[in-house]
Amino acid sequence: MAQVKLTSVAEAMTLVGDGDVVAIQNMATQAAPMGLVRELIRQGRRDLGAVCLVGGIPIDWLAAAGCLNRLIGAAVSMEQFGLCQRYRKAVEAQQIRVEELSETALNARLGAGARNLPFLPTRGLIGTDLIAINDNLVMLDDPFGGLPVVACRALVPDVALIHCHRADRYGNVQYEPTALWPDLGIMPKAATRVIVSAEEIVHTDVLRRNPDRTVLPGFMVDAVVEIPWGAHPTSFNPNYGYDTGMHLAWTKAARDDDATAVFLERYVTGPANQVEYLDRVGGASRMAALARWEITA
């Protein structure tokens, strides 16, 4: 058995330092560790590098709050809610530098980090402009004389942020039956530290009933915190859908600097805790609607 990893969100996020590379679980409008991301912003971290497969609202909030100066990822978009505007502006103002990777290249860089290898190869990317802009991608001849590959340098994020359905206080992490995006499959294995928020902290015996659903062993996890509705306003299947109203309110506010500041104060830095946050975003009635996946506002 492992050590107790259960702590408060404020304490957990002190594991992230200014300048760290932070891998953030996220898929456009899905499954982002928003409670952890809000706390990063509250604590005023600076010069962070974000790693994401497809980053959505967490990337835009971090960009809006001035926490990011670089991003490593395959795409940043809120899909049906459009581009992440604050992120986009910051990139266009050259405040955030983007290392754009393809998905196999991101998987390969993280996979090499996880496996302690200098690189992993992919046959993706070849023929695109992505290789020329990136020192971490190098064409490599096959020593056996076959086709060349793109060697993708190992990426070891300082921290990975993950949200899950349930965990025990030792940091064993369980997921409900749903799709597992690469974030969960590879990011935590590559990162130096792993911080997990869980909808619910349960007794270890609860996990022992379905050991096939445990996706991360406690020995890989450095801190675990309980944050119910911790992925809001992104969706967390099967518990709740993404919050259409919140995404639309953000995309509206993000057009204007003052409105952005007001929005961040009201929803991100203002609330003292998760209950206060949930009340500000619409309270019980909004939660009831999202639990029913009433997502087309």
Binding site: R115, N116, L117, P118, F119, L120, P121, T122, R123, V138, D142, P143, F144, G146, L147, P148, V149, R153, P177, T178, A179, N210, P211, D212
Partner: protein, 293 residues
């Protein structure tokens, strides 16, 4: 498209000379019913890939089916060495391409991912590398100076796996989830034959899609074979049959005794059910059942 077929027809998908990869690990989850059928059909010159293998490889060798074994390990674990593997390799009758577990996994992954090679640090410093100048190369990363081993692709003609359930379209499920490395061989294989404990309605898959292990397009034939991993185990349904391993190893001390044993207990019974009856029948199945698992 109905992929459910008989064990005889499925085995006919394996041509002489093929590279056949066998699922399971050591005493667990081996596709024994299908392996028995390959022996019965007297396949010849097979290259048999088993990452960590035991009884299935020994049956195929005893049946004269094998040209070369590609493996990290062949044994009966605590129940001893695999006798035919040992004898035939020592006699030079059967060839062995020995890899460490992860070197073999890397070769299979290179094939599955369509890459010329996969790198790993596994195997560095061992004598295994020198055995395979054509498939393993020790390289130095020019940026970091780190040593690694580049492993070439390992193409597999047919993968044989045993699982818990399949539907008629060929979706296959390992319960409660895949623990061993069968995916590595399925992904590297041109054709996969799955034997399963039960063929079930497709509804059982669509009701719990997160539990599907192989999608239908990866599976070419499905054969229903209850207790199809016997005498190896199938977690969580049943354990391995120690008595069979003991009888087998005892018989193998003498070639004539073994020949009779192999005919009577393994190849002779006409059907898989007859095989189970010849090897302890109901009592054996109750012995290995995990009724409270």
């Amino acid at each position: 498209m109905d992929k459910v077929t008989t064990i005889e027809e499925a085995a006919a998908l394996v041509p002489d000379g093929a590279t056949v990869a066998i699922g399971g690990l050591s005493m667990n989850s081996a596709p024994m019913a299908m392996v028995r059928e390959l022996v019965r059909q007297a396949k010849r010159d097979l290259t048999v890939v088993g990452i960590v293998a035991g009884m299935p490889v020994d049956w195929l060798i005893a049946g004269g089916c094998v040209k070369t074994v590609v493996s990290g390990l062949v044994s009966f674990e605590g129940l001893g060495l695999a006798p035919n593997f040992r004898a035939m390799v020592q006699a030079g009758t059967v060839g062995i391409e020995e890899y460490s577990e992860h070197l073999l996994i890397c070769r299979l992954q290179a094939q599955a991912y369509n890459l010329p090679f996969m790198p790993t640090k596994a195997g560095l410093g061992t004598d295994v590398l020198a055995l395979h100048p054509d498939t393993l190369r020790q390289e130095v990363d020019p940026t970091t100076g780190e040593h690694y081993v580049a492993c070439t692709r390992l193409p597999v003609d047919v993968a044989l796996v045993h699982a818990h359930a399949a539907d008629a379209r060929g979706n296959v499920r390992v319960e409660p989830k895949l623990l061993w490395m069968d995916s590595e061989i399925v992904n590297a294989a041109a054709v996969t034959i799955a034997t399963v404990e039960r063929v079930v309605p497709g509804r059982e898959f669509t009701d719990a899609p997160e539990r599907t292990t192989y999608p239908r397009f990866m599976i070419h034939a499905v054969v229903e074979a209850p207790y199809g991993a016997f005498p190896t185990s199938l977690f969580p349904n049943y354990g391995h049959r120690s008595a069979f391993f003991d009888d087998y190893s005892t018989a193998a001390r003498d070639p004539q005794t073994f020949k009779a044993f192999f005919a009577e207990r393994v190849t002779g019974p006409p059907t898989w059910r007859d095989f189970l009856d010849a090897n302890g029948g109901a009592g054996a199945l109750l012995d290995i059942a995990r009724r409270t698992a």
